[in-house]
Symmetry: C2
Subunit: 340 residues, 2 copies
């Protein structure tokens, strides 16, 4: 312990800090404001985005402590149309890099993972780009919490010891192309459960057969708060362990993976610390190595700090302003919010 | 999920909230101040304690944002003597219930788990009650972080399924007498490592033989922030799993345990939710049941909240004021602290 007094930040702590760069600096700087929709905080807005929102006072109301989607919008359709208008203008003006990746995907925005979606889904042809689609594209811009699944595929190799399968993402992926990543991972999509998503992704990404996926085990979740040029990433990943037989080799079915590689623990640590590993996937590997006894408080001087950074308090960070608001029975909170 | 919208707080979340009553309310109320010794935050002082500290301005300096042990004290011996004076007076005046348990035990006070102790140990006969002893008694009063070990002793019972050994604490224990607790637990004492302490306690508390303790596995840590009439408890527990054969029965060697009982998972959940389970030991059991796939995001509506409450950000809570202080080379920080 003496040695670490002079150099208290280990390589793994530096890595955990990098994953949580926003939690450790941006958030505490206090420059971001809660993004409130329908009386509930769904996101966090950075000063650069806030500056743009000020140009659209009919859509976004910028208050001293929070930013609110105009509560006068009567319903989902109106909200969608008005937000879409702003985002299309931003895209045309090339305001934010994250808007380059405009995709048609659906995403349910909720205040909490276990509460009702704040916006109803609408897949009708007349609403090609719903608010949900736009907010998915812009989750980074609005600091909206995202949820995903990750599977640690591992092997008790008789020679190499505990070894972990990693995937190299396809160079065609929109985010983190060509980076190393966990064996299987994916975002939670509308209409799919957590376990269901994990099983689906295991089939699509790594061709895990039915008899092997039966051993899939829920082992918790990790939460992180990363920031990049694409925005804010307050992510929670539901984690699964899957022990695989030494002779099984994953193969990709959906074109999203370039290759897979099986790495013994020590090499895996080198890989996640390298610059070509997807930063936001690091916590899943660290959590695995801690739960399996490879990273401990006796071999890692910053163990407690790292454990904390695998479970940053997003719940508290995204709940706090709400505790000071009174929400009326029909969910509208404009009056009370004004008094914050 | 729909059902949980109307009643979002599950029984397990209520339990996790109870464990972290200070994290969830007291801390955010902002009434406590950092307790700074030698330029580093080592604790947190509640208003009731602060009020008493104001009567001893030569020992404790109460600033608007923190409380500081007088930095003019030259060394360990002087600090010890001056703090002891105050505490003896409080004990004589019966100021705080926690002082009833005045014991001669040593405890190293550090700013962080992996940094050098802030106070040197002194076991000399002339210093019978060191500051360390007093601070151990008063860790609750000064909100000093404490560290311990916990072992989940479990059995893959061929009939009952996964089952967990719990201990009933001796009615003679000073804290939580007669309460149910994890199979093995103990505080970290001066001069003992984490794994060493776990093995020692496993022998003393549950008579685990050498051939079984070999399977002891590091699996992480949990952090909680509890408050009771005895004070504040910002505790971090290093967690171990130990699979035991179905025919092994733990027995106590040191008189600290009344009995042991093996409970299947469902009964164990009932037990930890009962009023006779040691509140601060609940997180270790919840963490075990999550890591082993028994509590999941699909069967527990407040899963993410609970995960956060098993890992409350003590590191951030106890580090924050320091980031705004400049510590001089010799560790004194009074000047810079004054500018906070």
């Amino acid at each position: 312990m003496t040695d670490n007094h002079t150099d208290p930040m280990s390589r793994l702590l530096k890595l955990a800090n990098k994953v949580n760069c926003f939690y450790l600096s941006g958030f505490h700087a206090g420059e971001c404001r809660a993004f409130v929709v329908d009386g509930q905080q769904v996101g966090l807005v950075r000063p650069d985005v806030m500056k743009e929102l000020l140009n659209h006072p009919q859509v976004f109301q910028v208050h001293p402590e929070y930013v609110q989607l105009n509560p006068a919008f009567r319903d989902y359709a109106e909200r969608s149309a008005r937000v879409e208008e702003v985002l299309r203008k931003w895209k045309a003006d090339e305001k934010f890099i994250t808007l380059h990746g405009w995709r048609e995907e659906y995403y349910e925005v909720r205040a909490q993972f276990n509460t009702q979606p704040l916006f109803k889904m609408d897949r009708s042809a007349t609403c090609k780009f719903s608010t949900l689609i736009l907010l998915l594209i812009c989750t980074g811009l609005f600091g909206i919490r995202k949820y995903g699944v990750d599977i640690n595929g591992y092997v008790m190799d008789p020679i190499k010891g505990l070894s972990i399968w990693l995937q190299k993402r396809s160079p065609n992926k929109q985010t983190w192309p060509g980076y190393w990543d966990n064996m299987v991972s994916g975002g939670l999509s509308v209409g799919f459960g957590i376990n269901e998503t994990a099983i689906k992704e295991a089939g699509e990404e790594a061709s895990i057969p039915n008899n092997l996926i039966e051993k899939l085990k829920n082992v918790g979740c990790v939460s992180l708060f990363f920031e990049s040029e694409r925005g804010l990433f307050p992510n929670t990943e539901f984690v699964f362990d899957l022990e695989l037989p030494p002779d099984f080799v994953p193969s990709n079915s959906d074109g999203e993976v370039e290759t897979f590689e099986l790495l013994p623990v020590n090499e895996c640590l080198e890989r996640i610390a390298s610059t070509n590993f997807k930063t936001t996937s690091v916590p899943v590997v660290l959590d695995f190595l801690i739960r399996h006894g490879y990273i401990t408080a006796e071999n890692e001087p910053n163990f407690i700090q790292i454990m904390e950074l695998l479970h940053v308090p997003l719940q508290t960070m995204y709940n706090h302003p709400l505790k000071r608001c009174k929400i009326t029975a029909n969910g509208e909170a404009t009056e009370a919010l004004g008094k914050v």
